[in-house]
Every structure is written in structure tokens, then in C-alpha cells.
Point group: C2
Chain length 220, copies 2
């Protein structure tokens, strides 16, 4: 057990330096693992079971769900402070889920290219500006799934709409940003990337990360 108390004044001066704070350092020993045994493989995931040694020295069996794609999420934020959302029936929870546009991006493809493709496929929109605003590990005790969140600004309709996935039947809606955020905070939209990207955009609107006119139209 390591305890590191950060004195208030000291931390603030570090923050102004915009450096990675000293407390973010690593401790202890990493996990170690054998070569693993492949249990399951499909086009999206690969489950492998490893014989592992925990940082405490404790032997363990670890079932790791490896993802074959990056999770790409795009919040289409229109100049009038509205956002475009996508509705679909999701298999895992068996529910209907309203979300920001999302999809898998191949690991060997520029994630910005995947983001533009997903945005066009799911909403028929293209963005003059695509801004990366978030990186997340979605479920980091069991999976290695990595996500990138983009804000899409300067939106116009695409000339041609790429073909959608043949298992997806998508609905679209365009609603005020504040209404989408309220719906997420009330638990009506629970997709993690949707919740986080709406909150991230709220933070940007409050902290000067967006144009004044756009921020005002979002926060009104």
C-alpha cells in the first residue's frame, strides 16, 4: 500500500505546468501471463484464457476478451446546439438504445477515417471538423476494448450515403443538446460512450472549448 498525499498548493502549481502529475506513476509489479489458450473467436472478439500471476504473487486464471476493433464514437453537434442521435435494438441487453453514432474501426485504419465513415453511414452527415476529445477503456477488468470519442462540427449532408450494416435498422433524431444530456443523466440513455461524450461536450461548452455562440445554444 502506497499513500501519496498531494498538498493543495503544490498540486495547483503542477497543474499550471500542464505536465503529467507525479502521482500518476506506476507501483508494484505488473501481471504476468503464459501464452494463453484460445477459447473463442469471431469477427469482433477473441476470448483467451491465461495462466497468470497477479501483482500480489497470487496465481490466477484470467479470461480476457480481446477486441478486434476500436470503439469509435462521434457526437454530431450542429451549429444551432442540437445533436443527431441514433436509435437501435441492441442484442446484449435486449433493449432499444438511443446513442450517439458509434461503430467499430479496424485497428490498422486511421480512427478518424473510421469516424467519418461511421458518421456518414449512420447519419448521412459529414463534418468540416472532427475533434478528438476523449479516450476510454470501456471495461478494463475483462476486456482490452479501447474507445475514441470525436466531436463532429460543421455538419452538412453527405452527397452519397454509404451502405449500412445489414444487421442494423437505425432510427435518427435531432434534438437540443440539453435534452439529450438530461435524458442520459435520467438513465434513459445508458450507453457509456454516449453518456461520457455528452458530459464531455457540456464541460467544453462551460470551459471555453467551443465557440461562444455554440456554447450558449447548448447551455440555454
Amino acid at each position: 500500500m502506497v499513500l501519496y498525499e498531494c498538498v493543495n498548493v503544490f498540486c495547483k502549481s503542477r497543474r499550471e505546468m500542464s505536465d503529467k502529475p507525479a502521482w500518476l506513476k506506476s507501483h508494484g509489479r505488473p501481471w504476468t501471463r503464459d501464452a494463453g489458450r484460445l477459447v473463442y473467436d469471431n469477427p469482433w472478439i477473441r476470448l483467451t484464457e491465461y495462466a497468470a500471476i497477479a501483482p500480489t504473487g497470487q496465481p490466477a486464471r484470467y479470461g480476457l476478451v480481446g477486441f478486434k476493433n476500436l470503439a469509435i464514437a462521434i457526437l454530431p453537434l450542429h451549429a444551432d446546439g442540437t445533436v443527431t442521435l441514433v436509435g437501435q435494438n441492441r442484442f446484449p441487453a435486449g433493449d432499444y438504445s438511443w446513442e450517439i453514432p458509434e461503430g467499430g474501426g479496424a485497428l490498422d485504419v486511421d480512427p478518424r477515417e473510421s469516424a467519418r465513415r461511421e458518421l456518414a453511414e449512420e447519419t448521412g452527415l459529414e463534418a468540416a471538423e472532427l475533434r478528438e476529445v476523449l479516450r476510454m477503456q470501456l471495461s478494463n477488468s475483462v476486456t482490452d476494448e479501447q474507445a475514441i470519442g470525436y466531436l463532429a462540427l460543421g455538419l452538412t449532408p453527405t452527397r452519397e450515403r454509404p451502405a449500412a450494416d445489414d444487421t442494423e435498422d437505425l432510427a435518427l433524431v435531432r434534438v437540443p443538446f440539453g435534452e439529450a444530456l438530461d435524458a442520459a443523466l435520467a438513465g434513459h440513455m445508458q450507453d457509456a460512450l454516449t453518456v461520457a461524450m455528452l458530459l464531455r461536450s457540456y464541460h467544453m461548452a462551460r470551459e471555453g472549448g467551443l465557440s461562444g455562440a455554440l456554447a450558449r445554444s447548448m447551455l440555454d
Copy 2:
């Protein structure tokens, strides 16, 4: 699964749960599935492959990672505007990860009880107030993992510290809220629940969901 309870000040003052906007309705046909074939089972997850029919009518094989626990996340927010974070070596990405306290809560246990246990185990703290502020589906195209985020307020040391998991070697740090949020937005902390809970708390501090003194100490 427990129904969402909106217990925070924001929900009470600004929006009743019955205010669900009309656009949140469902469309189309849900997925259908057969009984499934169990592929893998361990104490944390169960992978099942289903023969399914997509909402478009397209047949598909679906590999679903079912989770045996709720993901419980607790942001310990001290009265001086600092937060307690936990560092650990994570197996899936093979990285060192600073996060808010998190752990699995059995599905048949009150999630608030699981939250209090995790908070005590990982930080040696107990909370006078535990406020549910977030529900998320962490990776809803492949898994059915459900998460609940709690804000822990009125923090004091526990009399007795419960035993930790024998595979966990945890480090602790207490830092100003703004420094933790900055680290998350800079990509130094990427755990999804950590990122979302820090942004959620920022939103509460800005929107009157926390006491004025606490909010000011967080936003200074």
C-alpha cells in the same frame, strides 16, 4: 435488474422521471435468439454463442459476454474538494491504471451495500452519504455489463478495514478534483467509469447539484 432511481438534487429540481421525451421511443423489431451454446464460464463472465435474427431479418451468429456482477464505481469526494483515487496494474491492457474505486457487486446484493464494501476495502473510507448519479452500459454491442456510479460524501476513515482481494495490490492518492479531471481529459486516466464520474461530478458542481462550498472548492 434494479430500476433506475433518480435520487440526486438535479433530477428532483429540474426534471421528473415522467418527463421522458417522446423521441426516446422504440422502433422496428427486436433481435431474436435461440437458446444459445455456452462456450466459456468463469467466476466473472459467461460467453454464449447464439443463432440470432437481426432487426433487418438477417440471420447472424452472436457471441455475447454475460457479466456475473454489476460494475460498481464510487467517487470519494472530500469536503475540501479533493478525491481519493486507486492505482493498480490491470491485466487486460497490461498497463498501470489510476481510477476511482471500483469493483464487482453480486447481482442479488443491494448495489449500495456493494458500493460501501468496495469503498471500505479499497480506500479505508466510509461515507455519510452515498448518492447514485450515473447508470451506464459499458460495452453494449458485445457485453451485458451494467454499471452504477455513486458519489460518496461525508467521508471518514473506517474503524476496521475489510480484507482486499488477494490479486489486488492497490496504491492510493488524494488529489484536488480539478487535477483528477484534467488528468482524465488529457488521457492519463482512461477507465470509462472514472472519466464519466469525474465529468458527472463537474456537471453537478456547475448545475447546483452539490453544496455551494463543495462546488467552489472543486471548481477553483
